[in-house]
Symmetry: C2
Subunit: 357 residues, 2 copies
């Protein structure tokens, strides 16, 4: 097998050891004589896997008492609607901070459902920075933000200054660095970047916020349903949950979130240094103090050169470097499982490409 360096923004590269484990036990899970994907979601084997997964996430992320960890289907995009349906009271409103494509989508959904105040936005500069001036509404039920902007390459380095319940779409940087979960009332993340494959969304929900939810909603769209049944109200996406468990085990083996954060910062530093020392050949698109350590975005002189860069990189085993179709350019997504050597290879390639072109 010739494993490539996979810079895909999600679904993304996963730890080889987790993939190997899944492969090795795929036909016969723990001697049950069946695959994990054939196991009943109510049987003891899957139940244990789901409970282990939950416990590992609690341990690794330092989730305190008083929080629920849920595994839901439908992607983070479903959460945009669900959280607004649940947590904006009738006649009430919520504050949203707009830092890019995904925040904009979250706002759009909230506006379909209720009143929504954009407390800050970096749209004026094509979302190249994280705002530091806020116009919070004292009556807002919560403040929503997107911790890392996969497409624009920016990331929050401090929390929004508010005492309101904080709700965070952490899809693209969950578990990449140490955070204080107790500062958040809700964190949600599609698994397909740092946690596992696509098909499951992890929701970390403070019971205090959960208690405030509206009640007159379809059963599947109420967090209360999934809390009550510990994510087993209906058949959950069993294979994605099982994979999240294997990935979490890998994080633990690495030494936990502090250890992977250290590597993540090193990978990002290497590539940002290569940009910053290129005399403007590679231009980072995010403001210096808003840069993401997960998704590193840059532009070159013209689109033709970018196209050539992406094609030649692929030819040497550096895959998935194309920027999001909505912004173009180059994007190196380097989540937890992306190896340090891959970042080093990219830096080498950037230098050689510059020398040759």
């Amino acid at each position: 097998m010739n494993r490539v360096y996979n810079f895909n923004p999600g679904p993304a590269t996963l730890p080889l050891s987790a993939l190997e484990k899944a492969r090795n036990e795929f036909l016969d899970y723990l001697g049950t004589g069946m695959s994990i994907i054939e196991s009943s979601h109510r049987g003891p084997e899957f139940d244990q896997a789901a409970k282990d997964c939950q416990a590992l996430l609690k341990e690794l992320l330092g989730i305190p008492e008083g929080y629920h960890v849920l595994f839901l289907g439908g992607g983070a995009s479903t959460q945009f609607a669900m959280l607004a349906m649940n947590f904006i009271p009738k006649g009430g409103s919520a504050d949203y901070i707009n830092t890019g494509t995904w925040s904009t989508k979250a706002i759009k959904e909230a506006e379909i459902i209720a009143k929504c105040n954009v407390a800050a936005s970096s749209e004026d500069k094509n979302f190249c920075y994280i705002p530091d001036k806020f116009n919070f509404d004292t009556k807002a039920a919560f403040v929503h933000f997107t911790s890392n902007n996969t497409i624009k390459g920016t990331e929050w380095h401090n929390l929004p200054p508010t005492d309101k319940p904080l709700i965070c779409d952490m899809s693209s940087d969950i578990m990449s660095q140490q955070i204080d979960v107790s500062k958040y009332s809700m964190i949600y993340a599609g698994a397909q970047k740092n946690l596992g494959p696509s098909g499951v969304t992890v929701v970390i929900l403070k019971d205090e916020l959960a208690q405030t939810a509206n009640d007159d909603l379809p059963t599947m769209f109420k967090y209360a349903t999934h809390i009550k049944k510990d994510s087993m109200f209906n058949t959950p996406p069993t294979f994605p949950i099982y994979m999240v468990k294997l990935v979490a085990e890998w994080v633990k083996e690495q030494g936990g979130v502090a250890a992977v954060e250290k590597v993540n910062r090193k990978k990002a530093q290497l590539v940002y240094d290569a940009m910053d020392n290129s005399d403007g050949y590679y231009r980072g698109t995010a403001d210096l103090n808003s840069r993401s350590i997960m998704n590193l975005t840059m532009r070159m002189k013209d689109e033709g050169l970018e196209k050539q860069f992406i094609a030649e990189a692929k030819a040497v085993g550096l895959h998935g470097l194309k920027g999001h179709r909505s912004v173009g350019g180059i994007r190196a997504s380097m989540y937890n499982a992306f190896p340090l050597e891959g970042a080093e290879k990219l830096v080498d390639f950037m230098k050689k490409f510059k020398a040759n072109n």
Copy 2:
């Protein structure tokens, strides 16, 4: 590997060849140097898998022109709410037929959202039959029914007699037998019985019905969103979709739906004959003319004996025979991938158990 006979009701047994294929290419999908679960949902490899899956379902099920085939997250339970939100017009109503646990849940969701008329029900006899008398509302937007009742062991053998758009929850018997899709306006099915693993719901939606959908809904809950983006509005559950493709390939290799239907009927006949020839030792719970060929339910003299039956069956490699926790008894779920030999083994075991107890 000691593969057991897996009578689980879902997630359920899958074709060994499909599992082996997934296992063999799990670390390197088509020479891409990455797993299918690491592949971008917008890349050519997954895109091809999803398109192939769609095309195979169309071919195998005989889906005519004018229908969309969608892959959605959230399980069939999410469809209960979504279909009512989309297709019951403001101030309008829909007809539902209640044949068991899942119909009851579908009705409950519709009632949260709009007006809903129960046009027929078999609740009077604990759902042991499929109704043949209906009280349809001429103003109903559609008629909803559940083609196979996993828990109660009943199945429709003729369609409800109506000219209204038919919406069918086909989760537990889709692709098990030939049907005329053109008679339906919408078919939906959680994959985890006949189609693949849990985590994806297949929705087959007639464009004519799709056109009537309400518009003022959250984006993810509008079928129009998923039709427009061919199930790629957000990141879909890629691994489950890929597995559905492999399972569909297996069905095609068997000779298509007609061929698997023949085996399904044979399996069911074997086990029903064993019940019916047991002098009441094994009592089928479904009315003779409402029996399911997928989920075969029976009771024995007392719960102690049932418990013993289930435990001894497991000891000889016949797993998952326990009835649903809400009804008890014994249930043999034998979906497409469940082998004929498994049904034969069960019949042998039933005879021996009767002789010994």
